[in-house]
């Protein structure tokens, strides 16, 4: 047998084999990681090649149309903006307040535990289920109709767990000595939270809020389920009116469409020209998502660097 005749040779061969496997895996790992980058890159290039020529001023200020070269995204981007306002107004205060309660006030009892488990579970519920919830609850039970208010509330509930989680994580990283110093000076719990905990954790909270909103901008399925229309050739009523009381909230109850739905509508048509419009709308969605995520990564980096406890 080879082993008996030349043991060192055999062991050397084994070591070489193991090292070779190690190196091969190194290469495999590197290229597997690259797959993600390549797909991201291809997707961006593909969208730009198809859609870039369609991006013009008139694309932004035109309504959707039967004629692909005249169609635009005016009602879609206005709708997205207004829906995002409602989403932000719902999810940010609610999420931050819930996060503060769970980290600072909640005692370790069954109720806090239940809320925590429940929050984890909500984060895993598919977005379309939120759409069904909103259809039953907001559209038909509260009778908000298929409106901007319904759409915004739906997305607000959807990103609530993300805001809560980021609030909790960034509050958790504040050392106890800060709290104790504040109490030692006679501050109440709320004063401590309002003047110390919240300002110090703002960076982390902001990061979570931005990532949450960027996800909400791209969400399509729940908005389709609540009945947003795919073809809207008018704008919601203006928030300012020339007569008293000057501010109008009628727009909350107007029908709407949003960017991803407009894109979906164009992708689903058979004509090639509409696909180009879809690509152009996709570029705008993609740029918004990338900018928001980039901003969040930058903020996370900045705050991590600046604050050293």
């Amino acid at each position: 047998m080879g082993f008996e005749r030349n043991p060192f040779e055999e062991i050397r061969k084994r070591i070489a084999q193991n090292k070779l496997r190690d190196h091969l895996f190194w290469i495999l790992g590197f290229f597997s990681t690259l797959i993600g980058f390549v797909v991201l890159f291809t997707l961006i290039i593909d969208l730009f090649i198809d859609g870039f020529p369609r991006l013009s001023w008139s694309f932004f200020i035109s309504y959707p149309s039967r004629f692909p070269e005249k169609a635009g995204i005016l009602s879609a981007w206005v709708g997205t903006t207004l829906v995002m306002v409602v989403t932000a107004v719902t999810a940010i205060p609610l999420g931050i307040a819930a996060g503060i309660y769970l980290e600072e006030y909640g005692k370790k009892n069954w109720l806090t535990h239940l809320i925590e488990i429940n929050m984890n579970n909500l984060a895993g519920v598919p977005s379309i289920i939120y759409g069904l919830l909103a259809l039953g609850l907001f559209v038909y039970f509260f009778k908000f109709g298929e409106s901007i208010l319904t759409g915004g509330l739906t997305l607000g509930l959807l990103i609530l767990p993300m805001v809560v989680t980021s609030t909790r994580e960034s509050i958790k990283s504040i050392p106890n000595s800060i709290r104790e110093a504040s109490y030692a000076l006679g501050a109440t719990k709320w004063q401590t939270v309002k003047d110390h905990i919240l300002p110090y954790s703002m960076g982390g909270i902001l990061t979570g809020v931005i990532i949450g909103l960027s996800r909400a901008i791209g969400e399509t399925a729940p908005i389709i389920t609540v009945g947003a229309l795919t073809f809207i050739a008018f704008l919601p009523s203006p928030p300012l009116s020339p007569t008293f009381p000057f501010i109008s909230f009628q727009w909350l109850f107007d029908p709407f469409t949003v960017m991803p739905i407009q894109m979906f509508n164009w992708v689903s048509r058979p004509q090639k020209e509409f696909h180009l419009n879809a690509a152009a709308a996709g570029i705008i969605l993609l740029v918004m998502t990338l900018v928001m995520n980039g901003l969040a990564i930058y903020l996370r980096y900045r705050f991590r660097k600046r604050i050293k406890w």
Binding site: L47, Y105, L133, I224
Partner: protein
């Protein structure tokens, strides 16, 4: 020193208000469960549960409607299966590479970029699957129809790589350094250490990340609604068009949907099926995650 009464009162009021906000999450869950059960209860009054679960045809909009959920479940599982075949191996390899091999700089750069994969709007992925990937695949597989399960499956798989890789990597990095050093001291290579020591030690965390990824794939909607076609069919052939539970809900919602009709209720019946599938996976994932804490 006692504080003035109104300050005590104010503190209490604020705590109460914050508690209410935290409780809103429970309210959301209860409403989801209530609405899904309430609306599908109406459905199951007309359609026997047995027929719903075992019927092999799903044609609610035909003149003679058939309400068997199996084709939709089958479509969902087929697309999810393809996605899993893409995401689990790649996600695990990426996690091992980033946790055990990659230099610090590469890891710091790769993580945020990988996470972008999960941040891109799914409707954009749908566009990419239908108009980029399917035509390319058709060059290699001439039998592939324009709408199919394969192309959205692959895209969803790539989309959920970060869910798998990021959580797996975290749990591998949580394995104490001594365990690694013990293995290196025995003369093991990084490859042997990763696959025979680290992965078994971090098993619970890796399993949890797999399950979360699968649950995401099941609930994914827009990619399949755009690229998989809208044909409910009981097939395991990835080259043919299929319809998933999620795509059915979107498809029906796109049309005019009179409240209270049987058609309206079908989307809640499909919804509750989907909800129970993901709930089961989420609980399983949660169970695995709890086991991590017991490990060291």
């Amino acid at each position: 020193m006692k504080r003035p009464l109104f300050i005590i009162f104010k503190e209490r009021a604020i705590e109460g208000a914050l508690l209410l906000c935290a409780l809103s999450s429970i309210f959301i869950t209860l409403s989801i469960v209530f609405i899904l059960f309430y609306e599908s209860f109406g459905f199951f009054k007309d359609i026997p549960l047995w027929e719903f679960l075992t019927g092999t045809q799903w044609t609610p909009l035909f003149a003679q409607p058939k309400f068997g959920i199996l084709p939709l479940v089958c479509g969902t599982l087929l697309v999810t299966g393809i996605a899993v075949l893409v995401a689990l191996p790649i996600g695990l390899i990426v996690a091992v590479y980033l946790s055990e091999y990659a230099p610090h700089k590469i890891r710091e750069m790769a993580k945020p970029i990988l996470e972008l994969l999960a941040a891109i709007p799914t409707v954009v992925y749908g566009y990419f699957a239908l108009l980029f990937l399917t035509p390319i695949l058709q060059k290699f597989i001439p039998d592939l129809s324009g709408f199919n399960a394969l192309s959205p499956g692959i895209i969803i798989g790539i989309m959920i790589i970060p869910y798998v890789s990021s959580a797996s990597e975290d749990s591998m990095r949580a394995v104490p350094m001594q365990i690694r050093e013990g293995s290196y001291a025995m003369g093991a290579t990084k490859f042997q250490t990763a696959f025979r020591v680290i992965i078994p030690s971090a098993f619970s965390g890796i399993a949890a990340s797999f399950i979360i990824g699968i649950s995401r794939a099941i609930g994914e909607t827009m990619v399949v609604a755009i690229a998989a076609g809208m044909m409910p069919s009981l097939t395991l052939n990835p080259l043919k068009p299929v319809q998933t539970l999620t795509a059915y809900i979107v498809g029906v919602s796109l049309g005019d949907l009179p409240h209270g009709t049987l058609e309206y209720k079908t989307i809640f019946a499909a919804g509750i099926t989907l909800f129970l599938m993901t709930l089961f996976l989420n609980i399983l994932g949660f169970w695995f995650k709890r086991k991590i804490r017991e490990a060291y």
